[in-house]
């Protein structure tokens, strides 16, 4: 084992693994970009990996890149391509260029600074970790980006194009604004503009009602002493564990009997209650962290408790309120089960319920995907704009999905 840990051998072994990763990545990326067939060639990528991996120990970064590109070009020329392409010449050249550069760059980063002779355990493990890191970035980016890429691109395609070649996501730019036909149809024929408004109003109302209920509750649990305080903060978490489907059934029955089914009033009544426990839990954690002295000073100066909450605690906890609001907004915006069970009238659908109604064999796939994009874009925009609050909000008290 010890004798095997030389720079060359480690480089070659990691090179084969990295070469495989890159060959698959380039093949998938090129397939999705052009719609042609690309597949990793086994002998090709093993050879490329072995040579480039071992060689990268000797040459610097740009040397490794040059080596990778040269290997790809050579192997493709002799008929053992690392990525086999059934495509036009330009795409073959691009594949060799991208593949070789990615292989070389990656290997240079992985084996950079390794001596060619025997390695210490540190050097060996560090190289393995660098490989795993590179692999991880590629892997995670791929699994996150591919579904969203497919979602957006499918929504821009026409039905025949989709059936003809499901891999071809290249855009037919000559269609101009016609690319957005699915969206136009959803907004005009399927009432999606209205669903957007409904979802937005319901989510905002849910946030407001949730805050109105949970702020006083959270303050009481966090600051005031009373019997049953620990029990209270625990049962909040417990309620949070009750599955929605268990509650949805009696709610459905109750709403059917009370005539609240198919009304947005019923939805606005029920959504906040599902979010109050988590909001209360998150807020009480934050309130506990605030210095009590400031509030006591306020009390000494003659403010009542409620005035203290309003004038001191709330202004101090604005960031937490933002986090909680965002999180609650996200829950309400994404909520599906209750909307699906309680709303049957197309004029009262929320966005998620509207998308569910698009899932039928009569409605083309790209409409469904366009609906998905319409529902995803606002929440993503909000999320990216306020990512810092969101991350904090998510970690503050919720592990729920």
């Amino acid at each position: 084992m010890q004798s095997l840990r030389t720079g060359y051998l480690t480089g070659a072994a990691l090179g084969v693994l990295w070469s495989f990763t890159m060959a698959v990545t380039v093949a998938v990326a090129m397939s999705f970009a052009t719609g042609d067939g690309f597949r990793p060639g086994i002998i090709g990528f093993i050879l490329a990996g072995l040579i480039c991996g071992a060689g990268s120990v000797l040459v610097g970064r740009w040397g490794a890149v040059a080596l990778g590109v040269a290997l790809y070009a050579l192997l493709t020329f002799v008929g053992l391509p690392p990525v086999r392409a059934e495509a036009e010449l330009l795409h073959v050249v691009l594949t060799a260029l991208f593949g070789g550069a990615a292989l070389g760059l990656g290997m240079a980063a992985i084996t950079g600074g390794l001596p060619s002779s025997a390695l210490t355990r540190h050097e060996f493990e560090a190289a393995v970790i660098r490989f795993l890191t590179g692999f991880g970035y590629v892997f995670f980016t791929a699994i996150v980006v591919i579904p969203f890429y497919v979602m957006v691109m499918t929504s821009l395609k026409s039905q025949q194009a989709l059936l003809q070649n499901p891999l071809d996501f290249s855009l037919d730019l000559s269609r101009g604004w016609g690319l957005f036909d699915s969206y136009r149809e959803l907004l005009t024929k399927y009432n999606f503009g209205r669903y957007l408004m409904t979802s937005f109003f319901i989510s905002v109302l849910t946030v407001l009602i949730t805050l109105a209920f949970s702020i006083p509750g959270a303050y009481a649990v966090a600051r005031l002493r009373f019997r049953g305080r620990t029990m209270m903060s625990r049962s909040v978490l417990l309620i949070y564990m009750v599955p929605m489907i268990v509650l949805a059934l009696p709610i459905y029955i109750g709403f059917s009997m009370a005539g609240l089914r198919n009304t947005l009033f019923g939805i606005v009544m029920i959504y906040p209650v599902t979010t109050i426990p988590v909001a209360l839990y998150m807020l009480q954690g934050y309130f506990r962290g605030l210095p009590a002295e400031v509030e006591e000073a306020g009390l000494m100066d003659g403010l009542s408790r409620l005035a203290v909450i309003w004038k001191i605690t709330l202004p101090l906890s604005l960031p937490a309120l933002a986090s909680v609001s965002l999180y609650v907004f996200m829950i309400a915006w994404n909520e599906f089960l209750l909307a699906f069970m309680l709303l049957d009238d197309p004029s009262k659908f929320t966005l998620t319920r509207g998308i569910a109604s698009l899932n039928s064999s009569e409605i083309p796939r790209q409409h469904l995907m366009a609906g998905a994009v319409i529902a995803t874009v606002p929440i993503m925009a909000l999320f990216l704009g306020l990512e810092r609050f969101m991350t904090r909000g998510l970690t503050a008290g919720s592990v729920k999905g």
């Binding site: 497919v150 499901p166 209920f213 649990v221 599955p243 029955i253 999320f383 999905g401």
Partner: protein
């Protein structure tokens, strides 16, 4: 204080008026939340226990009731108000059915109303007694009126008749049966569903945790673009479940899905694979979806914990010559064990409760029916609300066991 204390001063015992006032305020602040929660959580929970012991079907949600329609017919001497009455149920009796109505001013009686109706001033009362299932009848009240016939008709039909009658309501009577539970536990179906649920829950949770740990290790360093990558890796969790679930279905569609096209082009598979339609592949796919959708959460929590680990320890380990893997194995992992176990238990419970994902991906077909989907299927597809409630009770009991275990563990770990 006027009189000097006779003994050494004692600290006050018990709860003084201030403490009582504070407690009262606390309960007042909590009251709205408590009321709302008990209305929407505790009450439905009790209801579900109640319903699970009753053979209720979807049709029973509308209890049998008498239905009446009023119309003004004929003209001149033949003018009459007709009430057509029927029982909304085909098989259940409604008892004590009484119809009452008032004639509008523009109409007056023209002779005696048909039995069983009697006139009293402008008021009409008809006592039908008990009506059987499927009963329908029609009674005529001869009337006369002056003026435009359309106006008369509008006036007659404008005064809605009121009708009362009581029917046995299966939801509120006191007959209980264990039929629902017998049905749920009958045969091997239940145990298969439970097995699928446990597989999905365990591997979905563990997978999300392991993948999340890997992602956290990747991002636990500062480099340019770290924030962007962190945001990007959260996408699967933040996007609406319905959008991403349908995207997966589209992506893995056997006929027009890109994944199949890709696999065939790459020579990995011969023909199209029906990812969400074959056993046991469908179960593996929904579990993978669960891992994909929820790894961001585990990764956020693990990353938060990692960044709070003291760096001194790692420096000490470096001095002692620990290798990178040793540092992870002997330093990071023990530090993370607490958050990992809490996360595992919480996620386990919530994955167990998950409904939307599987419902949207496969609808519970192809061997992916979990308990929660089973509730929906029994209650709505098979229209047997009682059986659905019985499954819901089983879920709730499982959950209680998990929660007890969870709080037991959590009181040991410094918690979330």
């Amino acid at each position: 204080m006027s009189s000097a204390p006779t003994s050494a001063p004692q600290p006050p015992r018990g709860r003084g008026p201030l403490a009582r006032r504070e407690a009262r305020l606390a309960w007042q602040l909590l009251a709205p939340t408590l009321a709302a929660v008990s209305l929407v959580v505790i009450l439905p929970l009790l209801a579900i226990f109640w319903i699970s012991f009753k053979p209720v079907t979807l049709a029973d949600l509308r209890p049998p009731a008498p239905v009446v329609r009023e119309s003004l017919r004929g003209s001149g001497d033949k003018m009459r108000i007709e009430y057509s009455l029927r029982n909304s149920s085909q098989d259940q009796t409604v008892s004590g059915v009484v119809l009452t109505d008032t004639l509008p001013d523009s109409l007056s009686f023209n002779g005696q109303p048909e039995a069983p109706c009697v006139a009293d001033g402008p008021a009409i009362t008809c006592d039908f007694g008990d009506i059987e299932g499927g009963f329908r009848t029609r009674v005529a009240i001869p009337v006369t009126g002056q003026g435009d016939e359309d106006a008369l008709e509008a006036a007659a039909e404008g005064s809605e008749p009121t009708i009362t009658g009581t029917a046995p309501n299966i939801l509120t009577n006191l007959n209980f049966s264990l039929k629902n539970f017998a049905r749920v536990f009958d045969g091997s179906e239940f145990w298969r569903v439970l097995g699928v649920t446990l597989f999905y829950t365990f591997f979905g949770t563990a997978g999300a945790l392991v993948v999340g740990l890997f992602a956290a290790l990747l991002l636990d360093r500062s480099f340019k673009g770290q924030g962007i990558l962190r945001g990007l890796y959260l996408f699967p969790y933040v996007a609406p479940v319905i959008a991403v679930a349908f995207t997966w279905v589209t992506l893995f569609d056997p006929f027009s899905g890109s994944a199949n096209a890709l696999l065939i082009r790459m020579g990995v598979s011969e023909g199209a694979i029906n990812f969400f339609g074959e056993r046991p592949l469908a179960l593996i796919m929904v579990t993978l979806f669960e891992v994909w959708r929820y790894f961001p959460l585990s990764f956020l929590f693990i990353l938060a914990r990692m960044q709070s680990i003291d760096t001194d320890m790692y420096e000490a380990a470096d001095m002692d010559g620990a290798s990178p893997f040793q540092k992870f194995r002997y330093l990071s992992l023990p530090q993370l064990l607490g958050i990992l176990s809490v996360l595992f238990l919480l996620r386990f419970i919530w994955t167990f409760n998950k409904f939307d994902d599987i419902f949207l991906l496969t609808g519970g077909n192809a061997g992916t029916r979990v308990l929660t989907v089973s509730v929906y299927e029994q209650a709505f597809d098979l229209a047997n609300i009682g059986a659905g409630a019985a499954v819901a009770v089983v879920i709730f009991l499982c959950l209680t066991i998990f929660s007890i275990f969870f709080f037991h563990v959590m009181s040991r770990e410094e918690g979330l």
